[in-house]
Amino acid sequence: MLNEGVLVVGGGVAGMQAAIDIAASGKEVVLIDKDKNLGGHVKEYGALFPDLTEGASLVEQKVRIIKNNPKIKVLVGTEVNKLQQVEGALKASFINTGNPQEQIFSAAVISTGFDNFDGKKYGEYGYGRFPGVITGIDFEHQEEAILKRPVKTAVFIKCVGSRDRSKGMPYCSKICCMYTAKQALELKKAQPNAQVYVFYMDIRSNFKNGEEFVRGVMENQHVKYIRGRVGKVIPTNGRLLIRAEDTLMGVPIELEADLVVLATAMVPSQATQSLVTQVGGKLDNNGFILPIPMAESENPMSLTKGVFYAGACGFPCDVKDAMNQGSAAAAGVLSYLQSNRGAAK
């Protein structure tokens, strides 16, 4: 029972970091991801705020470490459909290249990540209907094409899906303020003559160097921030008419744009729910993992006996934070295994 390995579900940055840290201490790790490649959402991202590291190169570095460590076994294109606690260990069943498999693990890290909010739920913004309306995630995926296409006016709309009780998501997705500022910066750098507007309710840049980054976008790139949430996007003469209120002036405003970017929220992934409930964990009202109260758990990332979590399956977080949580979960796993060994003696 003692020599069984550790299962890491989800090969995003949090899961990769956890796998690397656990394997570094000599433990066997099985890293499972349902995608064909490791790296989760981050592998498709361009530059990451605030220091503009390329998401793809970060993932490349982590994948290289994982490949060079024989202790880590990577199973891609594999989905864990059952995870149960059996006599102090964890039994996982998954389908690997068509073959159902079962394996016993002594501990597990859940890092199933998040999904992107579907912009089509906001009919008034016309995502999917009006050409020129894209989401921030589309911007990341098609960055080069978007930056090349000449744009006269671009509008960024924040809080699409975040902080909206009527859509059932009262929480703040945390990263949208920063990635919007970053995308505005990239657009302005690629096309200095473009007019770029950002419609915001509040600017939540509470990351290291976050405030300076957003101020820099405003002051040095002259991106115009307008306080107000857009009411409607109307296609007019081949362009997009934005109707909103400038709440600082208290007047309705209209402006025509060629590109509208919706800063969509992070929503909990479907995979999280079934896994967490199977091992006896709980979800909060929004569908993210409900952590054990701080004063009751030994490790901040612990969920139930031998199960830890990391990354955006707990709550929206940035890449840096996801890696921190991965490391914290790894530390939790190692100390759990150590104390278990002590108990077995």
């Binding site: 008034e124 009527s166 009411g231 409607k232 709440t247």
Partner: protein
């Protein structure tokens, strides 16, 4: 203009007592005003109306034209991220304005009262009678040319109004007895 704030808003407590809204849930995002269909005619948008309630500006609000220019299209309410029932709120404010003794001279309220009286009596509005009634209340008649055109082109009904049937009269009585106590519930 300086608004003097003294203590908690009594207006807010009053509004929240009549209608099912939490004024403090408003995050002042301006989505309501951004989509408002009557904003061109309003001196305050829905967002500002909510802020005025917080600031206890009772007289300013109840005298305002804005609350009467809302056509209850529900666009604001539909898009509000804080689920505030703005349409119910507007109804409540209009109701309060009608009861307020100081707003009797307000043009909108005069019109509103006559209009409701007519709908109760005839089941619909009757433009020519409404125009006459407004004239008696001190509103000047429309220009003669306009009146002539409206009548000759049969835009205004000059025949006497019909009397609604019994079931309509009964339902109006029922609404008067029971309804209109609490909005949005």
């Amino acid at each position: 203009m300086t608004m003097v704030i003294t203590g908690n808003s009594t207006l807010q407590a009053e509004v929240e007592g009549i209608c099912d809204v939490n004024i403090d849930a408003c995050i002042q995002c301006g989505t309501c005003t951004g989509g408002c269909s009557g904003i061109e005619l309003m001196e305050y948008g829905p967002r500002q109306i909510i802020q005025l309630i917080k600031l206890n500006q009772r007289q300013l609000l109840l005298d305002s034209k804005a609350i009467w220019m809302c056509v209850s299209c529900h666009i604001c309410e539909d898009r509000c991220p804080s689920k505030i029932k703005i349409t119910s709120l507007m109804d409540t404010l209009r109701e309060m304005a009608c009861k307020e003794p100081t707003t009797k001279t307000n043009e909108q309220i005069k019109f509103h009262k006559l209009y409701v009286k007519q709908v109760k009596a005839f089941g619909r509005s009757h433009e020519s009678i409404l125009t006459m009634a407004l004239t008696f209340k001190g509103t000047p008649l429309p220009p003669l040319k306009l009146m002539k055109d409206l009548i000759t082109r049969m835009r205004v009904d000059m025949t006497p109004p019909h009397r609604p049937n019994k079931s309509y009269r009964l339902s109006i009585r029922r609404v008067e007895e029971k309804g209109g106590k609490r909005h949005g519930k």
